[in-house]
């Protein structure tokens, strides 16, 4: 079976100092996990690069999966070979030939990166030697050299152990490898924003678990099904995630029945934060993640954000806080959650939404409202009924 070499590059990890090895090892481990079902695969770490050896037939599939792993800047599928000009040029000719035949004319160049300083030729010299050999074969068929406007770039990496020749680069997610930044808990709804905020933290190296507040007695099971699908998609970027489903209808009914109308939404959110915090403490997660963005809805004014955050002694991470809706939508489309998020599904029954939600709820009045219903008892009951879904198990 013919093998291919996957050349896996990372960017941000390369900027790390003495703990760089920790990040690299985490990335290698994540890559091995993501490709664990691929036969005959071998992953090696060489200076500044990760190399994967795979059967030719698996190369495309592996590359696609690698584009979903945070920490990887780009991937190329290449051929490992001896740094011999004739062999490299021969491969170049075979790669260029098909394209040239289709187009009739083609501008190309060779770009070499030489990390093996013991190799007796400079990068420029390699470019010239290989390029001129290719021109010798194909110039009469319409091939020309154009370094600035090349339509085809033959890339050569001459490393200490091996040389790789390739003609493609696929962008990755960049960011940091999952597991390098700890674990957090994201408040996930069926909307557009919270899946994006969850992804943002995954892409910063966190393993992100999700929590969903379910009111199926009033809203049906559609919201739950939608969130499970969203969490499943998001977990493909990390693996190992869990979704916690908390029954929330009793709390919503109690707040609706006992508290000031205009405070309701903030009171719901204070309870969501408290329950999330309790669960995060229990599971040793180090922060909460929300999809809030300043001013987007009544509960997301600066005053209301404060009124909600102050109930939890824990970092509340809000990666979307300064983004506008269109930017968030663009991200949601990129990560593949948008189409699910916009499926029609009630996220709050009209009976629970006040006609005029307050935009600057005062903490002392919120606390006064909370003295009117047994929130501690209801919270404890909700926490005792949490459903835990192992997202890897849904694959």
């Amino acid at each position: 079976m013919k093998t291919k070499t996957l050349l896996i590059r990372y960017d941000e990890i390369g900027l790390k100092g003495r703990n760089r090895r920790h990040f690299e090892n985490q990335l290698v481990s994540n890559i091995r996990y993501a490709l664990r079902d691929i036969k005959n695969i071998k992953i090696d770490k060489i200076h500044g690069r990760i190399l994967g050896r795979v059967d030719l037939t698996d190369a495309e599939k592996c590359t696609l999966r690698l584009t979903q792993i945070p920490g990887i800047a780009s991937i190329s599928i290449g051929n490992s070979m001896e740094p011999d000009f004739e062999t490299m040029a021969e491969l170049g000719v075979s790669l260029i030939h098909e394209k040239l035949q289709a187009q009739g004319e083609l501008k190309f160049c060779v770009r070499t990166r030489r990390s093996n300083k013991a190799f007796p030729f400079t990068s420029r010299e390699v470019d010239f030697e290989v390029g001129s050999r290719i021109m010798g074969v194909l110039s009469s068929k319409g091939l020309s050299v154009d370094i600035k406007r090349a339509e085809f770039v033959l890339e050569i990496e001459i490393g200490p152990q091996e040389t790789i020749v390739f003609d493609n680069r696929v962008s990755g997610l960049s960011g940091l490898p999952v597991g390098s930044s700890g674990q957090v808990l994201s408040l996930l709804s069926g909307g557009i924003d919270s899946p994006v905020s969850t992804f943002k933290l995954i892409n910063r190296g966190c393993r992100v678990h999700s929590i969903f507040f379910d009111n199926r007695t009033f809203l049906g099971r559609g919201g739950y099904d939608k969130v499970v699908r969203l969490a499943h998609i998001l977990n493909r970027f990390q693996g190992g995630g869990k979704l916690y489903v908390v029954p929330f209808q009793d709390i919503q009914v109690a707040i609706r029945d006992h508290c000031t109308d205009s405070n309701r939404v903030v009171l719901y959110r204070r309870m969501m934060y408290r329950i999330s915090h309790a669960l995060a403490e229990l599971k040793n997660y180090q922060g909460l993640v929300t999809g809030e963005s300043v001013g987007q809805v009544a509960s997301q004014t600066l005053k209301n954000l404060m009124a909600v955050s102050c109930v939890v002694p824990m970092s509340v991470l809000r990666p979307l806080i300064g983004m506008n809706k269109q930017e968030i939508i663009t991200h949601a489309k990129q990560i593949g959650t948008y189409e699910i998020s916009i499926e029609p599904q009630p996220d709050c029954c009209s009976v629970f939404m006040p006609d005029h939600p307050g935009t600057s709820c005062k903490i002392k009045y919120l606390e006064a409202d909370e003295r009117l219903y047994p929130w501690e008892e209801l919270m404890s009951s909700a926490l005792n009924s949490v459903e835990t879904i192992d997202l890897d198990g849904l694959d």
């Binding site: 007695t217 009033f218 029954c349 009976v351």
Partner: protein, 396 residues
Amino acid sequence: MIYLDNAATTAISPKVMDVLKESMESDFANPGTIYSIGLDAKKKVERAKQDIITALNIPSTHKIVFTSGGTEANNLFIKGFCLSGKKVAYLGLEHPSILEPLAYLGSLGNKPLSLLEYQTEGRLDLKQASALSKSQSRLLCLSHVNNELGTVNDPVLVFEALHVNSPDTRLFMDGVQAVSSMRISSKVWTGLAAYSLSGHKIHGPKGIGLLVYDSKLAITPSIHGGRQQDGVRSGTLPVPLIRAMARAIVLAVERIDEMQDHFNFLHNRLVQGLCELNEQLPELNIRFNSLVIDDLQKQSPSIVNFSFAPVEGEVLLHHLEEKNIFVGLGSACSASSKKPSKILTGIGLSEEQARCSLRVSFSGNNTIEDVDLLLKEFSVAYQALYPIFKDKYSRN
């Protein structure tokens, strides 16, 4: 599980399933081919068609075209008959598979005439049929049995009214909800330009329906291709689905008297039970949107639609769902909007009232115990929800 949303779809009948399985295994050949197994498949389609013709008393003046379901049958006829610019009228209480093709015609400049002002009790007031003549409408589109209300436009009575007052207007009826509870006699066809049916509403498979139309009429095809079915609807015929639907139609017609009695029994029990609850619970204010009468020319007994403001139908539906009882919304929201459909508002309910409704629809699988349990759980859920909703809407 208690399933009381049979106007949405029905469970496939075991006898139909037997035909479907057998046919899926054996009838793979394309009935449009000229070798023996293709000819055998074609023969089976013809046999199924004959069974449908016999069961529904379809005269030789009318032709059957198989479609993917009721929606396609309605689209095929409305667009196929009126794209040339013929004027068309409708009551305004029809299923979206009629309203949307009409809106499409409207977007092309052929604005359909709504007769909503002439609706009475969810049906067309036949005294007003002369309005069609004045507007020179060539086609009137109506539901035989309304999908949300169960109210009936009797095809024979409508035709008689058209014949006298607007003889140039032909009648098209959506029969998707009708076949399980309405007998289709041979005289029904005298006045019908076309009639549509769907397999899955009568314990048949999904993905198959049919249009019966007067063969004198020229219909412009919507789907072009291999010119199957005389070019009116191209596409390889799905032999197993056609055979299974034919079986479902035959079974429905065979049991029609028994089913009418059964539906009447369940309908009366539900209506009576709701009236009793209305007496017992001072906070309950039931309004029947369907007609509460024993008259098949006006109301199908298989559907009961009722409102109970201020509690929202959707929330009550989910409370019943928790007890494993499945009913329909009284006013179905479209897939993309939270606005209630136009049927309940069309008969005079406010949007709020329309939201506070449920539709219960029966099949032969339902029992009196199902109805009793529904009534019990409805009462429990309503009493639990009333305090939550009472401030939300002013009572109507």
